[in-house]
């Protein structure tokens, strides 16, 4: 009976409560508490290319990982803040990559123009194509985003446009290795922290409202199709940037940019990292993508290990790493008498 009447209690740490309001910060310890995790992440990611100086292969992996984490970020944003399940990572990457190739190779624009133009143009293109299925709730959006990459692949293949099955070759590479590495890392950090800001602005609140109850949002006089369109624009903006970058990284834009990997791995990263945290997906892809590279040594058997790890995560820690870590960081537990 005695044992039964004890309860484990979760309480916010004192320092968390003190630092919640900005004016209350009064000591280095509190500043450290607030900035610590953020600085750790930023510095960690920034140092990564330097630490891998003598492993050029792994530097490549870091670049690709960053692209995947951008896609995971956009998936997490759409799924957990707007309520749209988007299977269109490949769609965004493909559109961004091909547009960038068109701008760079066919129109002869330099890299620092072709990537931004492809990002914006791709976002407009993707949003325009997805607009018809936005007023509806349900699976329509997911299915359509899954279908578009397949459709575009076949169109390119059948009409033999834009290089056909060979793809567009001869894209300019980024000026040098460091620009190549740090441009994507910095952009990833900018997007990540930017999105965290964004979802807490008024407009982010409206988007979350759309997720919870779209009828109430409509009743408040807000056009939800416009809101969803805006969210899709932002998400595809992020995705297209990743695609444009990848095209320039490989100096080639081909049909493999529409590969299903770009849709699936980000979703797995969100599951592992913890949905709705925006940082979690980034951390998740920094675990998953290198893991799948390491497992390459096992040949086809790597899929088995990979899937087992994923399933294990869902079964035993379905809340996701980031949610778990945040809780441990901000709260402590103790036994109390009921």
């Amino acid at each position: 009976m005695n044992r039964e009447m004890m309860r484990k209690e979760r309480i916010d740490r004192g320092i968390k409560v003190r630092t919640e309001r900005i004016y209350a910060i009064s000591s280095y310890r509190e500043i450290l508490y607030l900035l610590g995790p953020r600085v750790l992440l930023i510095v960690g990611v920034m140092v990564l290319p330097l630490a891998l100086e003598f492993a050029p292969y792994w530097k490549r992996v870091v670049n690709i990982t960053c692209v995947y984490s951008l896609l995971a970020l956009s998936f997490d944003f759409l799924a957990n803040y707007v309520g749209l399940v988007c299977l269109g990572g490949a769609f965004f990457v493909g559109v961004g990559g091909y547009l960038s190739a068109i701008f760079n190779v066919y129109l002869g624009l330099p890299v620092f123009l072709s990537i931004p133009l492809a990002t914006i143009g791709g976002a407009i293109f993707c949003t325009a194509l997805l607009l018809p299925c936005l007023p509806l709730r349900g699976v329509y959006f997911a299915i359509v985003t899954l279908m578009y990459p397949l459709l575009l692949t076949r169109v390119i293949e059948a009409l033999n446009i834009m290089g056909g099955t060979n793809g567009i070759t001869g894209l300019a590479s980024l000026p040098n290795e460091y620009v190549e590495q740090y441009s994507i890392i910095i952009m990833m950090l900018v997007f990540m922290f930017g999105m965290r800001r964004f979802v807490n602005q008024d407009i982010g609140l409206v988007l979350r409202g759309v997720k919870d109850n779209d009828q109430s949002v409509r009743a408040s006089g807000i056009n939800i199709t416009y809101m969803k369109g805006l969210a899709v624009f932002i998400a595809s903006f992020i995705g297209c940037f990743g695609g444009a970058y990848i095209a320039h990284l490989y100096m080639w834009a081909g049909l493999s940019l529409f590969a299903l990997d770009f849709s699936i791995i980000p979703i797995a990263s969100v599951v592992i990292g913890g949905g709705g945290t925006l940082v979690g997906p980034v951390i998740g892809s920094f675990i998953l993508v290198p893991l799948s590279e390491v497992l390459r040594a096992f040949g086809t058997f790597r899929i088995v290990i990979y899937c087992a790890a994923l399933t294990g995560f869902i079964v035993f820690k379905s809340e996701g790493l980031m949610v778990y870590m945040q809780r441990k960081y901000h709260q402590f537990e103790r036994w109390v008498k009921v």
């Binding site: 039964e4 009447m5 979760r10 379905s318 809340e319 809780r327």
Partner: protein, 248 residues
């Protein structure tokens, strides 16, 4: 027959139910009254076992942690840790708040879904019984549940709960959003159910006035604890109850 002893429920650090004990004999109607946030719905979730399900889901999601204390007995058996669907098989059926009927199934289909546990012949009898109890449903058998009016939906929800041959029927706020006329129909139906089938009924409500005439015993919940209990006469005579629930 159905008994809850010293129930305590925490949503994280918030105490939702504090030491609530409830007893329900066979064939009695028990009323649980309280304002919003008194813990009525939590009590119903705990009695029906749905809270175990919520708890599991929250754990998976990394959300609020729900802790449960106390015991629930049904026919002398401890059912505290038994899952909601098992409890339903034993005869504890919840008719949830805000009805939760299946909006895209027709009235008939809704009833049939509720009858999943019972045998074919019983199902036929039960459907007939429900339709006699709430004749209004007869006119809409083929209509989708989502297009019924609020009162009809409530009747359908109670009917669906009856289809599973309950021994204890838990009605969570059955009068929510109903006009006085519909309230009368539902209340009348409730007491008919008890009289005809000897089912024990636990009914929660904010408005005591329409419900109190049919109850045998009542509890008043306030901020998660049971402040007062008594027979219908005792409750009606209590000055606090009078002022709070009857506006006298």
């Amino acid at each position: 027959m159905f008994e809850a002893r010293e129930l305590m429920v925490f949503y994280e650090n918030m105490l939702a139910l504090n030491n609530v004990s409830i007893q329900c004999e066979k064939g009695k109607i028990i009323g649980v009254f309280g304002s919003n946030s008194a813990g009525k719905s939590t009590l119903m979730y705990t009695l029906s076992g749905i809270i175990l399900d919520i708890k599991k889901k929250e754990e998976m999601r990394g959300g609020e942690r729900i802790s449960l204390y106390g015991r629930i007995f049904f026919n002398g058996k401890d059912v505290t840790t038994i899952k909601p669907h098992e409890r339903a098989k034993m005869g504890v059926i919840l008719c949830p708040e805000r009805r939760r009927i299946f909006p895209e199934s027709s009235v008939m289909e809704n009833l049939k879904i509720g009858a999943y546990l019972s045998k074919r012949r019983e199902t036929k009898e039960n459907i007939e019984y429900v339709l006699n109890l709430f004749p209004r449903l007869k006119d809409h058998l083929k209509r989708q549940g989502g297009f019924l009016s609020g009162g009809e939906q409530q009747m359908l929800a109670i009917g669906r709960a009856l289809m599973a041959n309950p021994q204890v029927l838990l009605l969570d706020e059955p009068l929510l959003g109903l006009s006085p006329a519909y309230q009368d129909i539902v209340i009348e139906g409730t007491s008919k159910i008890r009289d005809a089938k000897g089912i024990s009924i636990i009914i929660t409500e904010q408005y005591a006035r329409p419900v109190i005439p049919i109850i045998d015993y009542g509890y008043i919940l306030e901020n998660g604890s049971s402040m007062l209990s008594g027979t219908k006469e005792e409750l009606m005579d209590n000055p606090d109850v009078k002022s709070a629930y009857f506006g006298v």
